[in-house]
């Protein structure tokens, strides 16, 4: 066996080629990762952009128009399948496809009405993206805050996961309170007590109350 103290030119060429490939792959992976995170941030920014538009339009737009515009955005930007699975926990799997679809439709309607009700006027609010953090299972947390001269700053964190070619929101956390976690407790209690029909009836009544109060 012949030991070489110094690699010959062919070896050096091969090593250079391997290093080059490694660099290309690393840069591609890194680039891909940065791009994915940027897409998640862009998705949140787009949602905030619409909220600002809706707030600035305020009364001129009216509740129903605000809700209609937000409903399109909520349907596009939120992963309702995952949200349904998370919020109904073990009950989700026991529902028929039709029941799951009914829940998703009602949940989108309720979420849009809630956003339209809360974001109804503009008081110089600004959304600021503070950064993002990778989570397990390829999810990303985008950290933002909403500031206003007349309001205490509120931290708003979004959790997103990739879905085909886009990033979709699966949770919004305001000052540490995860809306979905609260809903999961409430919905589970209702499902345990009265089943899916009662839950759907209560969600419908809640949405109608929001629609009627405007």
């Amino acid at each position: 066996m012949q030991w070489k103290l110094r690699p010959d030119t062919t070896d050096l060429k091969m090593i250079r080629q391997q290093i080059s490939r490694l660099l290309v792959v690393s840069v591609a992976l890194l680039g891909g990762s940065v791009k994915a995170d940027e897409q998640a941030v862009a998705s949140v920014d787009e949602f905030h952009g619409l909220l600002l538009e809706v707030m600035q339009a305020g009364d001129a737009l009216g509740f129903q128009d605000r809700k209609a515009r937000l409903k399109t955005m909520v349907s596009q930007k939120f992963d309702m399948e995952t949200i349904g699975n998370v919020v109904l926990n073990r009950h989700w799997r026991d529902l028929s496809q039709q029941q799951q679809q009914s829940f998703i439709e009602q949940f989108i309607d309720l979420s849009s009405a809630t956003y339209a009700s809360r974001f109804d006027n503009y008081s110089q609010q600004q959304f600021q993206t503070l950064g993002f953090e990778s989570m397990s299972a390829g999810r990303v947390m985008v950290r933002t805050e909403i500031t206003s001269p007349t309001m205490t700053t509120v931290k708003l964190d979004y959790i997103l996961q990739p879905d085909d070619s886009s990033w979709k929101i699966i949770a919004a956390i305001a000052d540490g309170v995860n809306d979905l976690a609260v809903k999961r407790t409430e919905y589970t209690a209702i499902m345990n007590a009265g089943g899916f029909d009662q839950l759907l009836a209560e969600l419908t009544a809640q949405t109608q109350a929001l629609n009627g109060s405007q």
């Binding site: 995952t82 699975n85 998370v86 926990n89 809630t114 009700s117 809360r118 953090e133 989570m135 397990s136 299972a137 999810r139 947390m141 007349t150 931290k155 959790i159 699966i170 949770a171 000052d175 540490g176 309170v177 995860n178 809306d179 979905l180 976690a181 609260v182 407790t185 409430e186 919905y187 209690a189 209702i190 209560e202 969600l203 809640q206 109350a209 929001l210 109060s213």
Partner: protein, 256 residues
Amino acid sequence: MNYVIFNSGSYSLCVIAEICNRLRLVTSLIVLLLCNGYSTVGQTIVDDPFEARNRERFESSDSLDASLMIPAAESYVEDLPRGVRLGVSNFFGNLFYPNTMLNNFLQGKFIEGVSDVGRLVVNTTLGVGGIFDVATALQIPIHEEDFGQTLAVWGVDSGSYLYLPLFGPYTERYTPDLLMSGLLNPLFYTPVTVMVPLSALYLVNRRAEVLVQTEVRDESALDRYLFTRDAFIQRREFLIYDGNVPTSNLDDFFDL
């Protein structure tokens, strides 16, 4: 004191930071020795064995709130300009601030504690008894600490959820703060003729501060008791981690 620390050059800052780090380490070690066996800081598991009793208290407090506190708070908001209400909030916030300051030290957060001393001195003197928040204008940050958070940092388990009449949502771990924040509030040492009217003003002002939040809750909740309880437990975790709850705490929530 705050002025000296933040304006005495980078060398002094480095020395102070080093001392603070060492003190923090010593405190952490003492705390570990005292509380060996506890490791549930910021745990989100909701333990509510007294739910039936808690619900009764919640309902009766809610009735009192609807009939007495909400009308008083709404009138207060209507009758007093925002600037005056802000001054009242600042004044009471300053009275409660010794509790924040002490708990920062107890948690080993000495830089924050020293900053709180500065904040308290500035607002009490330049801010005319705390009515004006001069410290925030001077970029001295406001912190939100209490003995419940300190116990969590020390590794004490949160215990059961409690709904206390007049005081609202609590955990067993958080209840000692009622005594501590009371004893550290200068209002406690004033004559009854001063303490009672000021306490009443505090309650109405505090209720007015959260009018919007409770409206949002009433709009969003299907079960107001569960909504209040879970939002409170999560908010406490947020405060314990000073607003930076590790994302790993959320992983289990989505991995079904």
